[in-house]
Amino acid sequence: MAGAGGGGCPAGNDFQWCFSQVKGAVDEDVAEADIISTVEFNYSGDLLATGDKGGRVVIFQREQENKIRPHSRGEYNVYSTFQSHEPEFDYLKSLEIEEKINKIRWLPQQNAAHFLLSTNDDLRINLWHLEITDRSFNIVDIKPANMEELTEVITAAEFHPHQCNVLVYSSSKGTIRLCDMRSSALCDRHSKFFEEPEDPSSRSFFSEIISSISDVKFSHSGRYMMTRDYLSVKVWDLNMESRPVETHQVHEYLRSKLCSLYENDCIFDKFECCWNGSDSAVMTGSYNNFFRMFDRSTRRDVTLEASRESSKPRASLKPRKVCAGGKRKKDEISVDSLDFNKKILHTAWHPVDNVIAVAATNNLYIFQDKAN
């Protein structure tokens, strides 16, 4: 049926992404609570979880081979849903406690790791033992004695996939620190410090803001890590602290729009990124419901769109192109026509197959490679 190519070819990554499913309402007015805030496959990819700003979790399960309904194989259907968090008010500190689900992490089946990192705090990282819920270990604390000396905050953190004593955390200044919990109880001193040197002559008011890292993810192999800053995705070799081994431009055309993006706060949007199962490709979101994939071996990239218009069963997704300037070609979209309210902040890639889940505000799109 499909001509040549397709994802089955082991030599390359010529994917042909097709629409599979979309979940969520088609409302014009999106309620704050319905905004998806996290998407995560479990270790086998048979389960897919979403969390939203209203504190609710929905878990989908992949359908197995079914002779009666052959087309339903591979479809994700609702398995369970529950209210995970509720809004609270801390009367002592006069603080609202948000019910938004920031992150979902599935526990491995064998449960080799009994610990969990909680990294919502901008200034501290705490380590929790799964069976001890009334206290935690503080392993990183960057809160200055005097808050007026605050120059940098923690933006993301993750445990190494294989070495359970190793973790990384990123900062608002574009740096990443790797810590080994075996060397000291309080990891204020890092084992490794990753930072790309900056050309001081190119520094501007926006430099620090756009260098702030919004997400950090280890590769499945554990040899690399990927960081997402406002305009790019960078791949780092854990053995080389001086600079990333790869830089992929997500939407470089936004560099000449930074003034407006600062005024409308979009410059502070926190995009996530993810690896495919074999670590040969990476994916991240952008605006206008666009998302980008980068093939690390062929150095090719593609821009795709999550939209209801391309939501016919098994319809192939057409690559999109943004016209940065000059003459706009027929199927291109100009930078000024992009909808900055349609942000794809959260994406997930199945750990084994070429299946991806893309959160577009209040809708969840699932796409599959045609060869699946």
Binding site: F15, G24, T50, P87, Q249, S256, K257, C259, R300, S316
Partner: protein, 117 residues
């Protein structure tokens, strides 16, 4: 017809070369954007960093209602009107004391997620 991943820059060899070229071209747009911003907001500081800026980002627009402050202010003002939060309700300074009426209602979503519908 097999759809290959689109080659956006077929002439570019490596990612690094591509990045260098774009960075050189990128110096001018970023500086131009900076000039635009400073023209609009002349009182803007040299760089956005600093503790005030970071603390504002940390707050994420949360509103603080302190019943102690509120009652003290009420006692001081006596018959006068309390200063309300004003049109920019996200801005909380020493002079603006959010009143219970200014704070949005906090309630949980009792409705099932539409993703599960």
């Amino acid at each position: 017809m097999s759809q290959k991943l689109e080659e956006e820059n077929p002439a570019e060899e490596t990612g690094e070369e591509k990045q260098d070229t774009q960075e050189k071209e990128g110096i001018l747009p970023e500086r131009a954007e900076e000039a635009k911003l400073k023209a609009k907001y002349p009182s803007l500081g040299q760089k956005p960093g600093g503790s005030d800026f970071l603390m504002k980002r940390l707050q994420k627009g949360q509103k603080y209602f302190d019943s102690g402050d509120y009652n003290m202010a009420k006692a001081k003002m006596k018959n006068k009107q309390l200063p309300s939060a004003g049109p920019d309700k996200n801005l909380v300074t020493g002079d603006h004391i959010p009143t219970p009426q200014d704070l949005p209602q906090r309630k949980s979503s009792l409705v099932t997620s539409k993703l599960a519908g």
